[in-house]
């Protein structure tokens, strides 16, 4: 197996690792690479250090991306873990099927979607990604082993959202969902402030819903933004396939200075008229709005950025308002924050979702106020009975996270059985002491 030594990062580019990387293309090569004792990683779309293993080995799964079987009657798809959700959407939407849950980027791999039990704009209806996984095949010392919720419920649960710690995922059987066409009917509505946003999210009957919040607006305008509601529609793909553009260099810091961000937010909001607007968009433009700009993470400059994503229970919306107010007041936020309603659906011990509201904000890593602000925010989230999203996190501490994930001990017990020697450990797992209370 060919290895290379490289510096690599998560999507936020604020946390870095130096280690050896292999990228097998066949099953025997994968088995060989895994003897080097390292975790499997995907397209590194988690923001912090979930896909990093400093000083050790990691196995990139992106070339293990074959479709193994598809049943056009049931929508059951078996696929290798390195396949991306965007590719699955591209191939199956014309046949009337699509992944039941899609996160905000189509570059996420199936393996990564499972390891982080990701959610989408339909979480309040469809639950999390892992809830649509029928089986997962893990690489073990004695060869591939299929794990199903019926036969191995505990191991299956530990694998969904399990941060790759139960072993490298070779393939998974997914239940796709039908789609009437390749279009999304989108209704955009301007929302004046936070309370109105919560009310609008609660009242929304659309299958897909997401709120874009101006994280710089304060006081009366705190939490203003745009609610985007989507309904799948019949018909072929409108317009030609889009061509991705690249960001060729790291942007200078000025780009995300407070005045520029404020201007951008004002423009973003004014695009949508007072009375709202209706549009029909291709599916991938609705689901993956930023994928058209390859490497958009470089817009945050050399130092990179963090994404703060938290969720609070349904009755804690006022606490979330205070969290947003603290962010707005600090002036560190970047253009867009995302606000969503979520349902109770979750598939694993360490899954992020709970019934309530989630807020996600990007923050450039160079901001000096960030560590103090983050320490305050994570306490506010914990006190509200909420939690931070591990796929995004790069700043939290072990005690806080342990308090946010009540099933952590049950997960640890399963991991101790599945990977007793700690071969799959990542920087995230070490930083947050996830595998041991030490």
């Amino acid at each position: 197996m060919q290895w290379k030594t490289a510096d690599y990062t998560g999507w936020g580019r604020a946390l870095r690792a130096r280690g050896t990387l292999a990228r097998p293309e066949r099953v025997p090569a994968l088995a060989d690479a895994l003897t080097a004792r390292g975790p499997a990683i995907g397209n590194r779309r988690s923001y912090g250090d979930a896909a990093l293993n400093s000083g050790g080995a990691a196995v990139e799964m992106t070339r293990m991306d074959r479709l193994l079987s598809f049943d056009p009657d049931t929508g059951g798809l078996e696929v290798e873990a390195g396949a991306t959700l965007g590719e699955i959407l591209r191939l199956f939407a014309p046949r009337g099927w699509m992944p039941a849950v899609l996160p905000g980027t189509g570059f996420a791999t199936v393996g990564g979607a499972i390891a982080n039990d990701v959610h989408g704009k339909n979480h309040h209806n469809a639950g999390s990604f892992g809830q649509h996984v029928q089986a997962v095949t893990l690489m073990t010392d004695s060869g591939p082993r299929e794990v199903t919720p019926e036969r191995d419920p505990a191991l299956f649960r530990a694998t969904m959202g399990g941060l790759g710690q139960t072993g490298a995922i070779l393939s998974a059987r997914l239940q796709l969902r039908p789609t009437p066409g390749q279009r999304m009917r989108v209704v955009e509505t301007r929302i004046p402030h936070f309370d109105a946003f919560i009310a609008a999210l609660d009242a929304s009957e659309a299958e897909f819903a997401v709120g874009w919040v101006d994280a710089t607006a304060k006081r009366k305008r705190l939490g203003r933004g745009i609610l985007e509601e989507g309904t799948l529609a019949e018909g072929g793909r409108p317009g030609p396939a889009r061509r991705a553009k690249s960001i060729p260099f790291d942007a200078p810091g000025l780009l995300l200075s407070a005045p520029v961000v404020k201007l951008f937010n004002r423009w973003y909001r004014w695009r949508v008229p007072d009375t709202g607007r209706k549009r029909t968009r291709p599916l991938e433009e609705f689901f993956f709005p930023l994928d058209a700009l390859h490497d958009w993470n470089r817009l945050y400059g050399k130092r990179g950025f963090h994404q703060f994503q938290c969720i609070v229970p349904k009755d804690a919306a006022p606490a979330l308002k205070e969290i947003l107010a603290a962010i707005a007041k600090s002036g560190v936020a970047s253009p867009l924050a995302v606000l969503k309603r979520m349902g109770p659906g979750r598939a694993g011990h360490l899954s992020f979702p709970m019934e309530g509201y989630t807020l996600a904000v990007d923050v450039p890593a160079q901001r000096r106020k960030l560590p103090a602000l983050h320490a305050r925010l994570q306490d506010m989230v914990r006190d509200a009975g909420g939690r931070l999203y591990l796929a995004k996190d790069g700043l939290a501490g072990p005690e806080t996270v342990a308090a946010m994930y009540p099933e952590l001990d049950a997960w640890r017990a399963e991991i101790a059985k599945a990977d007793p020697d700690g071969q799959m450990t990542t920087d995230l797992v070490r930083r947050l002491h996830l595998r041991s209370a030490a």
């Binding site: 060919q2 990228r23 066949r26 074959r66 193994l68 598809f70 191939l91």
Partner: protein, 245 residues
């Protein structure tokens, strides 16, 4: 009538990307390589993507006994038959310097192995009135350089063979595309120092399919390699021999 392709060296990432595009167009693909167990997964992938037929067959460039069954299998397919050659190996020049016997293996893998199989297959293609041969060479075949001239020599030999084959197959209504990729992001180049302008295999495969559809003769992919190699070829030998590029 459905076209059926034999893909030699089907495990390579470039071949995989090309076979996927053929499958999505509804062609049949027979995937030939050494690791047939793993190739079954590629065949499954091709079927899910829409291939009219997807099978695997053993092929080892260094084992001529594996050639006959491949020709027989293609003869059993109805309709036009085409072939794409992605076979190759690239030991470092230092390994070859240490063990000159490796030259034989490099020449077999990159040139004589696949050429011999194509030679056996061509009468069938002619009898079926054409088909396409895609031969993947390398920009390294355009000029012998100190860094990898044995690999380059084998690829140059293969390119000359393809040129002659094009001359022959054209008469029967067929076509030959010679592909010269620059650095491509494959398992072969993973971790090798000094790579630049590395293209993803999917981009190379897209260029190849376009060349097949437009009946191009020789393509460089990505296209800027045409400019780079034009310059490298134009350097006079008295100067070139002193360079290390």
């Amino acid at each position: 009538m459905t076209e059926t392709w034999i893909i030699l060296g089907a495990s390579s990432s470039m071949a995989r990307a090309f076979a996927r595009k053929l499958a999505e167009r509804g062609d049949g693909v027979i995937l030939a390589g050494r690791d047939t167990a793993d190739l079954e997964r590629d065949a499954a992938d091709a079927r899910v993507r829409g291939a009219a037929l997807a099978e695997t067959i053993r092929f080892d460039a260094r084992d001529a006994a594996s050639f006959g069954p491949i020709v027989a299998r293609m003869a059993a397919c109805e309709g036009p038959v085409s072939a794409a050659v992605f076979v190759g190996s690239m030991p470092s020049q230092t390994e070859i310097d240490a063990d000159p016997a490796l030259i034989d293996a490099v020449v077999i893998d990159n040139f004589t192995g696949p050429a011999r199989l194509l030679q056996m297959l061509v009468p069938l293609m002619e009898a079926r009135g054409g088909g396409t041969v895609v031969g993947v060479g390398s920009v390294a075949g355009d000029r012998g350089r100190i860094g990898n001239y044995v690999y380059g020599a084998a690829k140059a030999g293969f390119a000359t063979y393809l040129s002659g084959l094009r001359n022959r197959l054209t008469r029967a209504g067929g076509h030959v595309v010679t592909v010269k990729p620059g650095f491509t992001d494959t398992a072969m180049t993973w971790g090798i120092e000094g790579m630049f302008l590395v293209a993803p295999p999917d981009k190379v495969a897209a260029d190849i399919l376009k060349a097949v559809e437009k009946k191009r003769n020789v393509i460089y992919t990505p296209i800027f390699w045409l400019a780079i190699m034009s310059i490298i070829r134009a350097i006079p030998e008295p100067i070139f021999k002193k360079l290390s590029i």
